[in-house]
Amino acid sequence: MIKANEVLDAKGLACPMPIVRTKKVMNELEPGFVLEIQATDKGSTADLKAWADRIGHQYLGTVEEGEVLKHYVRKSGNDDVEQEIKHPHVIDNEQLSEKVAADTIVLVDVREEAEYRFNHIPGAVSIPLGELAARMDELNKEDDIHVVCRTGSRSDLAAQKLTEKGFTKVTNVVPGMSQWTGETEKSV
């Protein structure tokens, strides 16, 4: 099961209805939230992807379960807007790539679970930003923690929160997954 904020049942509907319905639900959805669309129309995968790219939503991926296609789309969120990065310790993707290879850090991926499941850096731990406060005890305060998200803005917030709570070595990765060219894996 991949977590989604909302589920749309578009099973049995033929084109154009899956996209028409998706569009409607997305309009109501909060920025940054993930929608799961269940469809049986085979053409829905290519169409959803093309539609999401055009609007600026993130098409995350599709899981096939028998006849049903489960598509995951994340509504374009405030992390797309250029935001001031406040956390003082920052590295870029290239530096991260070296540290991942050296295996000396704890890498925390704070994107939504669905984003993580379809594409993440091997070894990264998934703790979505919204769950960070409740799950902080899963992390060790003395570890060399690197926080990554899609663009560097959610991870900036996460890095600030962790520092406030007494984590000593916290580094934000900018930009993060949107520009990551190194190895990735899926867990779907």
Binding site: C15, P16, I19, A46, A50, W51, R54
Partner: protein, 375 residues
């Protein structure tokens, strides 16, 4: 304004008659770039349907009012939605019934001519893919050459003519489309002929189509004679009907020649192809009328929608038949080849009887443009 449906047959006539038509294609840009409904006097606008869900105001200026407008999508649903929106905006438009799926599978029957002794020849033009297949009528019996998997359309046509199709010929083991030969033979109790050299891995029984074999059938005494002309495949065999028509399969087209690499044997088969095109065909009666299994461009269709040409004339106009130098010929047919057809390996396996995809999978396997000729 009411929204009208245009069916594939009506659209075919517009293509053949070179009528003007404005096509609003509402599929994804990728799908449109890959293939579309071709017409010599057609003009196009591609806007994905999901950009038009909230209304068509943005494109109204780009949709002309002085010619017919056809909205096209993959299966028809989205084109109906967009056509209705245009109609609400006061425009008179049609949508393509069944969408590109139906268009890709539609066969337009065109009469090629009468045979001396009362027979008839029909060419089935698959405009969406460029495939040509043939029905030869003799009395109350019919034969088919290179029939496609779309057997319902042949059945319906045979029924209309009041004939029974009993002889199915494949000029070679096809890699670009799924053959209807075996299934037609099974459903009518007829015979399926296939060149034995292409049939090493075939899992069902068939009648070998060997060089020199003559099949005479029906009340009008129509004769089909096989001539071995390898090169596209090792088994490729041409058929001569009543010493008047030459069915060349994928060896010789009107505008180009076959390519020998589909089974990964380009180098081995180049000399066979050269021998077939430059020796065997040259020794034949040059008044034979060539009818191939494909066309590449709409300009190959004559005013009735037929694709045929005198063999002697092809030696004058087809550049693939005018390469004197053998090395240059080798380069022409083995270098700079267009990409392989979609799913060609699965299609070959299906035609060998090794796999049995369901109808939806068969449609999927044949999707996309045809790429069998050297162009």
């Amino acid at each position: 304004m009411t929204v009208k449906a245009m069916n594939a047959s009506e659209l075919s006539k517009k293509v053949i008659n070179k009528e003007p038509l404005f096509i609003l294609d509402v599929r994804n840009e990728d799908a449109f770039t890959d293939w579309k409904v071709d017409g010599e006097n057609f003009s196009y606008l591609n806007v994905p349907y999901f950009d038009l869900i909230d209304g068509v105001e943005d494109i109204l200026d780009d949709v002309p009012q002085d010619r017919d407008v056809l909205v096209v999508c993959a299966k028809e649903g989205s084109s109906i939605m967009v056509a209705e929106l245009l109609s609400e905006a006061g425009r008179d438009v049609s949508y393509l019934e069944g969408g590109m799926k139906t268009w890709s599978e539609h066969l337009e029957p065109v009469k090629v001519g009468d045979l001396d002794n009362g027979g008839e020849i029909y060419q089935f033009v698959r405009l969406g893919k460029g495939c040509l297949s043939y029905m030869i009528v003799s009395g109350d019996e019919g034969a088919m050459i290179d029939p496609l998997r779309l057997v319902d359309q042949y059945d319906a046509f045979a029924k209309k003519l009041g004939i029974k199709v009993l002889h199915m010929f494949d000029t070679h083991l096809h890699a670009d489309h799924i053959s209807g030969g075996r299934r037609l033979a099974e459903s009518t109790g007829g015979t399926y002929y296939l060149p034995p050299k292409d049939a090493d891995e075939v899992t069902f029984s068939f009648e070998p189509l060997e060089d020199g074999k003559v099949v005479t059938f029906g009340g009008a005494d129509v004769t089909v004679r096989a001539v071995y002309t390898p090169g596209h495949t090792i088994g490729s065999t041409s058929l001569i009907v009543n010493e008047t028509y030459l069915f060349t399969g994928d060896i010789l087209f009107l505008d180009s020649i076959g390519r020998p690499d589909l089974a990964g044997k380009a180098e081995d088969w180049v000399s066979d192809l050269r021998e077939s095109l430059y020796v065997r065909y040259k020794e034949m009666d040059q008044d034979l009328l060539v009818m191939p299994a494909h066309f590449a461009k709409l300009s190959e269709l004559d005013e009735k929608g037929r694709v045929l040409a005198r063999l002697g004339d092809l030696y004058k106009v087809n550049t693939g038949l005018q390469v004197e130098d053998e090395d240059e010929f080798r380069r022409l047919v083995s270098e700079n080849l267009p990409p392989q057809p979609n799913s060609y390996q699965e299609i070959r396996k299906t035609n060998m009887g090794k796999i049995s995809p369901d109808p939806a999978e068969e449609t999927e396997m044949e999707i996309g443009p045809n790429r069998c000729a050297v162009s």
